[in-house]
């Protein structure tokens, strides 16, 4: 069935179809219509789940942590400062290896207050041990939300599905809603390897020493460092799980095929623009225009940000003479985090480093500053001519 709805509703329908059992959320713009929709579905009896209207985002994720530890499929959603307020819990959920799914309707962080879109909120959570997927349109939002649960439950690692506030969360677009019976084939009920149970008592997340330690049966148990190493190893292996999950989804629903990166006109491109989220598809128009002027350009959308698909990114950029990374977030004091990650990937994977492309970081759309297609085109045209005027912040007026 195809419908025309907002990105937030696309996410809510994904959560409903996923058979989530516990939803906990605290209102924050632009996430609110998503959780309003879920509370409506639950109150109307159209979704068999518990909705917990918590008093803060910190508690929203706490409820999910408790529920997931007790074996329930749990979901929350937030934006901006709400995500930052959760930060301790974001780390905790990953460390505890809980397959929670969270939607992030991306929004700029304060100060000063700003409710509009950029990626600073979720990018600043990149080191927490979560899987991060960036959806570029409404179809991807609903599909990614469903895939997120399967990836999370396969890896025992929580997943963030990130989509642009307002640009996607509040705009209406047509998309296909998967049939429930098909979803059941894709996503079986959640059966955790351990859930809190008085018949099989365990002390979860207890104090763990720097060194390995013997248990009461004489077996050696992991120290903190081993537990954290396994999280890293499983996250790196999650790249493959994301690919496999996408393949399984594609087989059932006929959509997908770009789980890690989405190249557009990159095959013969001398210059590639890299972006995440809805900006990716806006850049398709820019690239089409520049192609008519004779520039050999392409776009690479990064769909999976953590674990970083470094091999796929480097492979897609192999042969390019130049790369422009266009970001809605910064590691303040240096450059965009994606730009740094991409340079690392090139350094690790390019066989001939003397032929590595130049990489230029560009900043766009901070705090919802409108990214005009004409500005993007002008900036890239200058970049292709060898110089981008100003600080590389597209559209800035100082």
């Amino acid at each position: 069935m195809h419908i025309i709805e907002t990105g937030n509703v696309a996410a809510a329908l994904g959560v409903q179809l996923a058979g989530v059992q516990v939803v906990a959320a605290y209102p924050i713009t632009p996430q609110t219509p998503l959780t309003e929709k879920l509370s409506e579905l639950i109150e109307a009896g159209e979704m068999d789940a518990r909705y917990v209207p918590v008093e803060s985002e910190h508690s929203a994720l706490a409820v999910c942590i408790g529920a997931s530890s007790a074996g329930a499929r749990a979901f929350t959603a937030t934006s901006a400062n709400g995500l930052l307020y959760m930060h301790e819990q974001v780390h905790w959920a990953a460390g505890a290896r809980l397959p929670i799914v969270m939607c992030v309707a991306n929004r700029a962080v304060g100060a000063p207050w700003n409710i509009w879109n950029d990626h600073q909120d979720s990018i600043s959570q990149r080191d927490t041990g979560w899987i991060q997927i960036y959806s570029c349109d409404h179809q991807q939002i609903i599909d990614d939300t469903l895939k997120a649960f399967r990836v999370a439950e396969t890896t025992s690692i929580p997943v963030m599905v990130c989509y642009d506030g307002y640009l996607l969360s509040h705009t209406y677009m047509p998309f296909a809603v998967p049939e429930q019976e098909m979803v059941a084939r894709f996503l079986p009920p959640f059966h955790p390897s351990y859930a809190l149970d008085p018949d099989a008592p365990a002390n979860l997340n207890t104090v763990t020493l720097p060194e390995i330690r013997m248990d009461v049966h004489g077996e050696m148990a992991h120290g903190y460092m081993e537990i954290r190493y396994l999280l890293q190893e499983d996250l790196r292996n999650a790249v493959q799980v994301v690919e496999e999950t996408d393949a399984a989804f594609q087989e059932l629903f006929g959509r997908g095929g770009v789980p890690l990166v989405e190249p557009y006109r990159c095959d013969d491109a001398e210059y590639v623009v890299v972006a995440m989220g809805s900006l990716t598809y806006q850049l398709w128009d820019v690239i089409d225009a520049l192609r008519t002027e004779g520039h050999k350009v392409g776009v690479l959308g990064v769909r999976l940000y953590r674990p970083f698909p470094d091999a796929a990114v480097a492979a897609a950029l192999q042969g390019a003479r130049g790369v422009f990374v266009m970001e809605k977030a910064l590691s303040y004091g240096y450059e965009g985090a994606l730009c740094s990650d991409l340079k690392s990937a090139l350094y690790d994977h390019l066989p001939d480093k003397s032929r590595a492309p130049f990489v230029k970081g560009l900043v766009a759309g901070i705090g919802g500053r409108e990214i005009k297609t004409v500005d993007l085109t002008d900036a890239l045209r200058s970049g292709l001519a060898g110089s981008i005027p100003g600080p590389g912040w597209i559209g800035i007026r100082l």
């Binding site: 516990v22 530890s69 074996g71 809190l196 008085p198 365990a202 997340n205 104090v207």
Partner: protein
């Protein structure tokens, strides 16, 4: 009212292993052992960082026979809600959900999530063991440290402010059951926990928990110090059931008798009050007297 539990009718089953990591003379050790007997085996315990985290053992060894979920400091009540909602979603409502937090995890960093759970009416028991300070981190002041107490960050003058009355705050939430208890009166605590778990919504029990290293007394006197707090009227045992206030156990006896030991006997037995002046001690006595005159007039808390 059901018959009071006695030392003979207390369940023999132990849920806390001996040889755990509690300090010698730990008041929490008494309260936790008795509390888990009252809760029984079909229970999940939620624990924020606190002395109890240490008592429960270091991975992969656990000193508690019940399943236990360690959570972040501010999130105890919300995590309890999460476990509760999962149990409901799975048809496992028979399992009891119980949060055990220290005074910091309850009165200070934990009060927001606790207040939220009360307002929502989530069905679990929250127990605060009040050793009146951040003992696990080396005895710093908390919201429930009493006025005049020397702590690691009130080292010279003692704490200037009054103790936060968490039980009164919880009563103001209009929940069905709020009680105070003491580690020195384990049977009174046992009966209160039994009653609490028979009721719906958030139930709250605030346990006065003497702490030898934090309060400054010899480890063998934990029960004695707890008793002195109650016998002097400095700490009271009561319950507020559906809004009805009632002194219980030794405190009910004190009210009937009409006399109390002088508060200075309690204060002088602990080195944390060593710099308290006679005038300050007189002030404390006056406040205790005023509180008890409201009890005598039947006004309650």
């Amino acid at each position: 009212m059901t018959a009071r539990t006695t030392i003979l009718s207390l369940p023999r089953e132990e849920y806390v292993h001996p040889g755990n990591r509690a300090c010698t003379g730990c008041g929490l050790g008494i309260a936790y052992r008795i509390g888990l007997k009252a809760l029984g085996p079909d229970t999940i315990v939620i624990v924020p960082p606190s002395c109890l985290t240490v008592l429960q053992g270091l991975f992969p060894v656990a000193s508690t026979k019940l399943p236990s979920l360690n959570v972040t400091f501010a999130s105890t009540a919300a995590a309890a809600t999460g476990v509760l909602e999962a149990l409901k979603a799975q048809g496992r409502e028979h399992t009891k959900v119980v949060a055990w937090a220290g005074d910091g995890g309850t009165a200070d960093i934990g009060i927001q999530s606790l207040s939220g759970a009360c307002e929502r009416g989530d069905d679990f028991l929250f127990l605060c063991y009040d050793n009146e300070g951040y003992m696990n981190t080396g005895v710093q002041r908390s919201g429930t440290t009493p006025q005049g107490a020397i702590t690691a960050n009130t080292p010279l003058k003692g704490k200037m402010q009054q103790k936060k009355d968490v039980a009164a705050i919880m009563t103001a939430h209009g929940i069905d059951y709020v009680a105070t208890a003491s580690a020195a009166y384990p049977l009174d605590l046992y009966d209160k926990i039994r009653k609490a778990i028979s009721l719906k919504g958030v139930k709250y029990i605030h346990i006065h928990t003497p702490c030898p290293p934090g309060w400054g007394y010899d480890t063998r006197y934990t029960v004695k110090i707890g008793e002195l707090a109650v016998e002097t009227g400095y700490w009271d045992l009561y319950e507020v059931e559906k809004g009805e206030f009632r002194l219980t156990g030794a405190s009910a006896g004190t009210l009937k008798k009409g006399t109390r030991k002088p508060v200075k006997e309690y204060l002088q037995a602990q080195s944390r009050f060593r710099i308290m002046s006679p005038e300050q001690a007189t002030d404390v006595q006056a406040r205790v007297d005023a509180k008890w005159s409201t009890y005598a007039s039947g006004e309650g808390c």
